[in-house]
Amino acid sequence: MSDTTKPQAQPDLTPYARPEEGTNPPLLYPAYASTVRRAPKEPLVWLRHTITEVTGPLLGERRLGDLDHDLTRHHRGEPLGERIIVHGRVLEGDGRPVPHTLIEIWQANAGGRYRHDGDQHPAPIDPNFTGVGRCRTDAEGRYRFVTIKPGAYPWRNHDNAWRAAHIHFSLFGRAFVQRLVTQMYFPNEHLFFQDPIYQSVRDERARQAMMSSFDLSETVPEWALAYQFDIVLTGRDKTPIDEDH
């Protein structure tokens, strides 16, 4: 089995901090109708973080094409709509960057329509826009996408329901417990008041963490406006407590 002549290295099993109450939405949020038959009814069982949870897939190196980060260059022509730059950093709660981590995004086109068979609302498909991008953060946790500002779109959750414009983000971090799927929103949006997916995050400071900010410094003159969106994943728990509670 193990080679006894060299010291056996031990895995780093420091647990991760649990997000504060109010950060993540409740699984049952009846204003978002689809939660009613899908949210578990039994309380979640508290799981002590073991090596299974503090490790996770480190993906992407061989999964990215050169243009995956530029959603405006995936077809022969340029997509219609407002070209934007979306950039930011992926950080842990203590501000430490998360380097070389895979980010996947998907979104509607400028007219608010997804390139998906299930989206049949009467807005045009843009033949030059698929709405899918990927990149990896650099050594300082920075990322940058070029895309089109997505449109708002109607859905059937309630009467005259519209989703606030958003870009879906999927992140892995470096541990199973850091896995995050979220949505980035835009400032100066009118639809938050009636969007239960946005509203399901109950804490105001947490809501702000889903909001991008207009970033003049990263705009490219005569070419594209820029929005900054920093994403914060939970980090290692710094309080040296016994995790039994």
């Binding site: 056996q8 290295a9 895995p11 099993l13 649990r18 997000p19 950060t23 993540n24 939405p25 409740p26 699984l27 978002y32 689809s34 939660t35 009613v36 038959r37 899908r38 949210a39 578990p40 039994e42 979640l44 069982v45 508290w46 799981l47 973080h49 073991t50 090596i51 299974t52 503090v54 490790t55 897939p57 480190l58 999964r63 950080l91 842990e92 203590d94 501000g95 996947e104 998907w106 390139r115 998906h116 299930g118 989206d119 709405g131 899918v132 879906h168 999927s170 470096r174 995050l180 799927v181 979220t182 949505q183 997916i197 399901s200 995050v201 947490a206 963490a209 889903m210 914060v232 994943l233």
Partner: protein, 184 residues
């Protein structure tokens, strides 16, 4: 002061344009020694199939080592250990993998072979997290500290049962025989 952690939001109905990989279902490549399929179905509180879910798994290799810098026992091989499978119209998914070895648990205990599982779907504002254990590992399961912490009548929801080309593992999001989900 600690930064505000970014909240989770639902994956929505259209994730398949962005999160589907051709090799997604393959935690190990086709032809790997000892590989099998874990097949199952995701259902809702009415027992109806959930056709717009995605199931992700993370696991150790057959020697119980995670391919990760925080597990220095890893051998630097190319064992991916991660799979991602969207559900079909009938709510079914399939993951191609090998059985992981036992891995260390809290306080010197050993954890029985298991996969960490995330399920995302429209209508789930956050992923739900569960584990796949293997019903044919009765002795190791009996000594597993996570299984031991569950009510006896709910443990079976985490046991993948031997099936024709591997194992069967269903995910019942809500209601009768609801799968055990963990807060991580």
């Amino acid at each position: 002061m600690a930064l505000q952690v970014t909240p989770s939001q639902t994956i929505g109905p259209f994730f398949s344009i962005g999160l589907t990989w051709e090799d997604g279902a393959f935690a190990v490549p086709e032809g790997t020694d000892g590989a099998f399929w874990i097949r199952g179905r995701v259902t809702d509180g009415d027992g109806e199939p959930v056709p717009d879910a995605v199931v992700e798994t993370w696991q150790a290799d057959p020697d119980g080592r995670y391919r990760h810098p925080d597990d220095p026992r890893a051998d630097g091989g190319d064992f991916r250990g991660f799979a991602r499978a969207p559900t079909g119209r009938d709510g079914t998914f399939a993951i191609h993998t090998v059985k992981p070895g036992p891995v260390p648990g809290a306080g010197g205990a050993t954890q029985a072979p298991h996969l960490a599982v995330s399920v995302f779907a429209r209508g789930l504002l956050n992923r739900v997290v569960t584990r796949v254990y293997f019903a044919d590992e009765a002795d190791l399961n009996a000594a597993d500290p996570v299984l031991a912490g569950l009510p006896a009548d709910r443990r079976a929801t985490l046991l993948a049962e031997p099936a024709e080309d591997g194992y069967r593992f269903d995910v019942r999001l809500q209601g009768e025989d609801e799968t055990v989900f963990f807060a991580v």
